[in-house]
Amino acid sequence: MTFEPKIVGFLCNWCSYTGADLAGTSRIHYAPNVRIIRVMCSARIDPTFVLKALHDGADGVLICGCHPGDCHYSEGNYKMMRRYPMLKSLLADYGIEDERVRLEWVSASEGQRFADIVNDMTERVRALGPSPVKAALEADLAER
Amino acid sequence: MAIRANPKLITELEIYGAQDVSKCYHCGNCSATCPFSKEPYIFPRRSMRSLQMGLESKLESDLEPWLCYYCGECSTECPRDAEPGETMMSLRRWLTARYDFTGIARLFYLSAKAEILAVIIVALIAGAGFLLYGFSQGSITQYGGPNAFLPASSVHIFDWTLAAVLLALLGTNCARMWWFTVGRDTKVHVPLSAYVRKIYLLPMHFFTQMRYAKCEQKRPWVLHLVLMLSYVTMLVLIMFFLESMWSGPAVNWSVHAFGLAATAGLLVTTIVLLRKRLKKTEVQYQQSHETDWMFLVLLIVVVATGLMQFTLHRLGLETAANVNYVIHMMAVVPMLLLEVPFSKWSHMAYRPLAMYFADLKAEEMVSKEREAVGAPQAA
């Protein structure tokens, strides 16, 4: 039984979610491991969403927004860009591998790019194995 | 090596009959539907292409136009009405003009008036010649015997002389054809042994026209075969059995049976063909060049006067027979001297030769290919 990672994707409505829809209308196939949650802009993504996802059992989190300069709300993706390194250093402190959380820019016309990112990330997370968070939480629970 | 295109060539070919070739957009339906088009000779599309671009030396060295029998299927299938069948016919006319070193063929194709004038002049000269000869040594009232107007022996000599002349002309044209299509081809070299080994192809194609039989419509093949065999029969009788043919007035069945059969064959087929051209019944008869008419008209005059000759001789009307014979020769001489080496009739040599050469070249190309891939040679 190969390990099938569960990855939560946060996609912004205007670019990346539309790009993922385009992959669909173009019938471009990709791995089924990413489950998408729609937000209006990547700026809406609170770092706690990422932590919540990891806590609830996600093996990876993918964040997608518009390319810098093309944000539907002008600068939303820049805000995400600024929060991201802080989030990554926090996760590193928790011992969560770097490749589990990823930020990518996907435009509305990049259906193929979205599919490629999903496939790539799925394989990288698969290679890492199940998230250490789940195991740690279960161990913690067992102790109590 | 890049080949220089010559867009002006089309203007010349239009006079030979290729007015619609520009419409071709190379869908390839014609080559797909052609029953004869097979590697390495794919046509008519390739020839249409070379013509559109004016690749003169390529067209000159092509055998494809002669491999076509104008069944007309290609023209029927053509979605653009580019008349590939008629274009191949025009190419045959053009090649006939090219193979001929004298330039007379070209003149005939470009100017119908020139051809008609030439025919008339040759007819008049022949007529005058025969009359002068006749009057100089015989009586117009005598058909046979010592005082005959035109003794068979003299006509026989004349016939053979004429034959020699036109064979010489046709022969040189055929040699040129060989040079253009096989001799100067640097890529394919046919060994002498192959020529000898496959020589049977020449009489085979000539006498049976078996390729024509492969067309979907069988009737054209039958018509053409009957026409050609009748003509050849007649030719043999006249060249080798003239004395027997002239015997009479009693019927000499051993030769006259053949003669009558041949006449019937010629008469029926010529009339049918004339009618088809007039009524444009099938695709291949819808476009007629002046040379197509000249061919049939001369033939029918020759056959009619020939039959008349036979009849008059049987009836013992000697003066009339002599006069008729002069008229007969006035049609025969231009037909043989002009039509055979310089016009449509040359195809009787070019086509069998083309099939012979095509076979030789194809065999050589296949064997070279097999050598190249290291495969064993065909047995």
């Binding site: 205007w14 992959a23 729609r38 709300y73 929060r83 | 890049a2 867009p7």
Partner: protein
């Protein structure tokens, strides 16, 4: 909340979803979730019987919330929201799960796809439980329109809008109307005069009482939102000094057109070096003047036309510029007319004769004895100067595919069919009106098939070649379609805009003012008396930047609250 009743409707979408996803299995898994009162599948949920079914169930089961697992919400969210509204339920009590574009259409393993669909549907169920009733806002719709670009598209749109009695501001950067069509002589395939076509348009536009033609004008700023835009346009005063004016408009149509590819970028065509290699536009100039000659002033004996210059080329632009094939045939006719003895050759890759009358036009071009030469993509012809002894000025070497030979085509004049490119100012224009561009620089439409003239920014439309290369009939069709869309709205007088915006809970707000600077729309003001921040809902576009940034968690994004998203995360990982 305890007596909440959620209805779950899983659509088969014919075989689009049902072919890969076991919809019954999805129903089984969601039935077990809390508050799910009814769960069922149907062939086409968006159809009338499908919607009737939802409405009937809302009544029968007294549903409070509805989940529709089907296509992308970008497709049918408005449809199902209307269905809820008809049944008397607040339209925001709907949540959709995208199990088509993002599931059945992209996965081939039915087991994995069904599992994912079940998870996405569960997420929607858990999210919708936290939805609140929201009311859409109604704002006035200003009937004025700004049309950016005075070419054939811009003028056509302006006329339709103006004829309906609305004011139009037509802003044109250059000093004349007509755009690229003004540079043409005749048009394919019927060889109509471009000039006549334009004169009709320009005259009507200039004389129209409802159209303000602003020449040598540039749009500098666009503020506001649909129905209520404020645009600043810079024009030239009489003395030449720049003067800015502000106009109130309800809609904007972008018709900025295209620019032609620079042929000198392709060195093997010798443009710029060989004097008798010209572009299509340069030939148009000659044709409009009525004389086609070489640089030396002689009538060309051989004219060659080369297609796909800069188009269908991985090095420059991979796309096809659509109009050049038929325009090239137009030139074959025009050149033969202007120089009767000339031999015209047309060197192409494929002949794109896609439209009305075009295949016949192609046939007619063959009949006038144009010689067509075909070359393969990426195996381009090369032009060189001929020798002095040749009867032509240049020779074009082509690896000709219809004959299989390498051909040298004589030419005295070569016409390069240069492709269309996005204008250099397209990036500036896109940022101005907040629309996006694709990788080639063309403006992106709302939906490539079903919504080619709207954009993701409500109230901003695109028409003509600025959206993608196209010919005059299609440009005019798009322009008039955009005008029709606007007229449909102005006829209503008011428009509904989304109820989704951010709100500050003043009790939680600490007055740190972090959010004030973050808002790209300057929609957050600080109340100096109360020392609290406050969102101006009319200006808020609901991006959520302030929500995520607030250290006190005082700002909530309606319809995208933390609680709703947290439930969605839980549902997706269940």
């Amino acid at each position: 909340m305890d007596d909440l009743k959620i209805g779950v409707f899983v659509c088969n979408c014919g075989t689009n979803i049902a072919k890969v996803i076991d919809c019954d299995a999805v129903i089984d898994s969601v039935e077990r979730l809390p508050y799910v009162a009814v769960a069922r599948t149907y062939k086409y949920m968006c159809s009338d019987p499908g919607q009737d079914m939802i409405q009937a169930d809302i009544e029968e089961y007294g549903l409070d919330r509805v989940v529709v697992a089907a296509c992308s919400p970008r497709m049918h969210e408005p449809t199902f929201r209307k269905a809820l509204q008809k049944a008397g339920l607040n339209p925001y009590f709907l949540e959709m799960a995208n199990i088509r574009e993002q599931c059945s259409w992209v996965h081939d393993d039915p087991v994995a796809a069904t599992e994912k669909a079940a998870a996405l549907t569960a997420a929607a169920v858990m999210r919708v439980a936290h939805h609140e009733a929201l009311e859409r806002r109604s704002v006035d719709m200003c009937p004025n329109t700004l049309v950016i670009g005075g070419g054939i598209a811009g003028m056509s749109a302006a006329l339709d809008l103006a004829d309906a009695g609305n004011r139009v501001y037509l802003a044109e950067r250059s000093d004349h109307l007509g755009g690229n069509v003004a540079r043409a002589d005749l048009t394919a395939p019927y060889l109509d005069s471009a000039r006549d076509m334009l004169t009709e348009r320009v005259t009507r536009v200039v004389e129209h009482p409802n159209i303000d033609v602003l020449l040598e004008s540039q749009v500098r700023k666009v503020d506001g939102f649909v129905g209520n835009f404020k645009t600043t346009i810079r024009a030239k005063a009489d003395d030449g000094a720049p003067v800015d004016s502000v106009y109130d408009v309800g809609s904007i149509i972008v018709c900025t057109g295209y620019k032609e590819f620079d042929a000198s970028r392709i060195t093997h065509y010798g443009y710029g070096k060989l004097p008798n290699v010209v572009t299509s536009f340069e030939l148009e100039k000659m044709l409009r003047a009525g004389r086609v000659t070489t640089k030396e002033g002689k009538a060309p004996q051989y004219v060659a036309i080369i297609h796909c210059v800069g188009s269908r080329n991985l090095e420059f632009h991979a796309y096809c510029s659509r109009v050049c094939c038929m325009t090239a045939l137009k030139y074959a006719h025009e050149v033969k007319s202007a120089v009767p003895g000339a031999y015209v050759s047309d060197i192409y890759i494929d002949m794109h004769a896609f439209g009305k009358g075009m295949e016949d036009f192609y046939r007619r071009s063959s009949e006038i004895k144009t010689l067509f030469l075909m070359y393969e993509k990426n195996d381009y012809p090369v032009i060189r100067k001929a020798d002095a002894t040749d009867d032509c000025d240049m020779l074009i070497e082509v690896n000709e595919t219809l004959s299989g030979e390498t051909i040298e085509m004589p030419a005295d004049l070569v016409v390069l069919m240069v492709g269309m490119e996005a204008r250099e100012d397209s990036e500036e224009v896109a940022h101005l009106v907040n629309i996006s561009r694709d990788k080639d620089g063309w403006f992106i439409e709302s939906h490539p098939k079903l919504d080619p003239v709207a954009t993701t920014t409500d109230g901003v439309y695109i028409a003509g070649a600025c959206q993608a290369p196209k010919d005059i009939p299609d440009s005019v069709a798009q322009a008039r379609a955009a005008a029709a869309r606007i007229l449909a709205r102005t006829a209503l007088g008011k428009i509904d805009i989304d109820a989704v915006f951010a709100e500050v809970d003043e009790d939680k707000c600490s007055g740190c003012r972090m959010c004030n600077e973050l808002c790209p729309y300057v929609a957050i003001e600080f109340d100096l008396e109360k020392r609290r921040s406050h969102v101006i809902s009319a200006l808020c576009k609901a991006c959520g930047a302030c929500v995520a940034a607030c250290p006190s968690g005082a700002i909530t994004a309606r319809h995208f609250t933390d609680k709703q998203i947290f439930s969605e995360i839980e549902g997706v990982l269940a």
